[in-house]
Subunit: 385 residues, 2 copies
């Protein structure tokens, strides 16, 4: 047996920012005190700042799916016509939630690895002017592809529909001009680019979305956006907050602000670019070649090799956890994440390990060549600071 450090290299949970973890040790405080209200207020204000929006930002003790649920149950009404863009497992989740609440969904499905085009959304909006909402993933984590939410948002803004964007892996990995592009609801989670464990979901809500919510008739209790907004304004959460998680997020947000959201995004973009360069050099094909995002890069296993073997050997040989494909993509692709607390040294190591695993399983590549492709990307970006 030799030393293998467990490295969490999945697109969520993502590697944890150590000072944020240490902050969880400060959780022996009561949540209905001014001490905690300070922390909670700072969290909401910092989220708003790094998301770069003037919309309200609310937070829940929940996974990202909770905020998706709440966005539907608080803003829509039974039988509302909506458009759901499905380009992967998380698009399918939007369709499931819409169905669970009895919305009348026009589901636009594209094959895994591809994305729904803004023109498809425009056409669907034209075909049904009574559409109340459009649901999409900014970044579809299951395939690594990104939607053109800017073009979609600008088109939707001209209609009566609101644009509900799951940006759980989009925030911090791609530019999202929430106010400028008309992204009415933008959903994020703690365990992605925000570098802390799972357990917190947050969402921004535009005036247009609040307006639609006024007539909502769907039942909900825990996920009560209006109540949560009022509580948040008072520096509190409606229900008992996940104090340790909020302390962690608060600490991580200080770091995110220090780096700057623009540079955090660039960091992910550079790592993704370097990963694509390495994959190409190693003769591997990208799963979402047309619109690869920077939160995660999905790579096809070489012909005849199960991607599960790659995932397994990352664990057994190097203690590292990378992601397999989900659903029917399982066995076909593996996914290397870039979002949040990832750096170039992580990537160099990961690619060197990948080269070893490929060689050991019949896909012969010269050692160091994938690493070299990634190093070139680093050098050309002239990254120093």
């Amino acid at each position: 047996m030799y030393i293998k450090k467990q490295r969490l290299l999945t697109p969520g949970p993502t590697p944890l920012y150590p000072p944020a973890l240490h902050a969880m040790m400060r959780a022996d405080m009561h949540h209905r005190t001014e001490d905690f209200r300070k922390v909670y207020r700072a969290c909401l204000a910092d989220l708003k700042e790094v998301m770069g929006t003037s919309n309200d930002v609310l937070m829940f003790a929940a996974s990202g799916t909770g905020a998706m649920d709440g966005a539907v149950s608080n803003l829509f009404s039974k039988g509302d016509k909506v458009i759901v863009c499905v380009a992967g497992k998380f698009g399918e989740r939007w369709a499931e939630i819409a169905k669970a609440y009895g919305l009348d969904a026009n589901v636009i499905t594209v094959p895994y690895g591809q994305v729904v085009k803004p023109e498809q959304v425009e056409a669907a909006l034209l075909a049904e002017p009574a559409t109340k909402g459009v649901f999409v993933q900014a970044s579809e984590t299951s395939t690594g592809a990104v939607h053109d939410v800017e073009a979609m948002g600008r088109a939707i803004a001209k209609t009566g529909a609101i644009f509900v964007v799951d940006a759980i892996t989009g925030l911090g990995t791609m530019p999202l001009d929430i106010d400028g592009w008309g992204l009415d609801v933008v959903i994020g989670g703690s365990q992605k680019a925000f570098m802390v464990p799972p357990g917190l979901a947050f969402l921004s809500v535009s005036p247009k979305a609040w307006k639609l919510g006024e007539t909502s008739n769907l039942p909900h209790y825990y996920f009560n956006l209006k109540k949560e907004k009022k509580s948040g304004d008072a520096g509190e959460s409606s229900w008992t907050p996940a104090t340790a998680m909020i302390l962690a997020l608060g600490e991580a947000l200080v770091y995110v602000k220090q780096i700057g959201m623009a540079d955090l995004i660039k960091n992910a973009q550079m790592l993704a670019q370097a990963t694509r360069a390495a994959a190409g050099k190693l003769g591997l094909e990208l799963f979402s070649a047309a619109s690869p995002g920077s939160s995660v890069t999905a790579i096809k296993a070489p012909a005849g090799m199960d991607s599960g073997v790659i995932v397994k050997e990352f664990r057994t040989r190097f203690g590292s956890i990378i992601a397999n494909g989900q659903g029917t993509m399982k066995g076909q692709i593996f996914r290397i994440a870039h979002l949040g607390y990832f750096d170039f040294a992580d990537l160099f190591a990961m690619i060197a390990c990948l080269e070893i695993i490929l060689n050991a399983n019949g896909h012969t590549v010269p050692y160091g060549t994938g690493v070299a492709a990634a190093q070139e990307v680093y050098a050309q970006a002239a990254v120093k600071k």
Copy 2:
């Protein structure tokens, strides 16, 4: 600004084993309780087991230097004739301690990067049969060189002298048959291969060393080996113990036993071998080519490049802390550590970073070639488990 994770890649402190760190959180216990005695007893027993000795093992809240001090002040007497092997900064420390306590030291000095030969020690012992002790570093951390303590030990065992070995970076990086080779006193520290922060020193003491100590007339108080032995037998320390540190060490020792001391040593040896291969491929010279150890590899900076530039750019570009040379070696060499909680992924990353730094500072090397040399070592060792 982009993400740079702080990686501690120095030959002490070394990277920390996370469960050991978490164990420090359990320090709200009193040290004079059966609960803590259990922890303390387990620590001493596990240290004895992984050191592989039947000698007594004692522990102090101190840095390794404290145990070196205690070995001298408890076992020797004023004016005792001793031999001190000096092959670097830590050999010089033995000479300073011997001087501080008024021993009559025959200091055998070799240039930095070289080691004292067993024959030199044998000759000195022959020349002075009244010699009471021989002091050496198993691994001289400042140069990366290792002494042949087996041959020295076998020679010293035939005389009346005791053999006092600073194995602070030797333990866990090189085989040390304490009982078989006659290593009368072997000193270790928590912040080396034992994967926890600095703060604890321990040493094994042979019957021959205890015997010599019976006539010792040097003053000491805190470092009282006899008193500490008695306390340890009762599952306690004489003075207030560093409880959090001991909880951490206890946890790390469980992991070391799980890996096995032999495999922990092999881990360091493989990493050192891979580092030497990479350095060679990158046209870099080893500082201690004749007897390189596996705790740390000292590499000469390319001609015309200050090694401080390499150390600085590891920090500024990649957030990683590597060691410069010490004393007159500063600026000439840099040191890459392998001891304790280091793995191949760490090394691949470190070499990729080094290649970038070399290229950026005028020493042109093809990207990925050093990494490839290290990958070859991994592959040839057929490491999988």
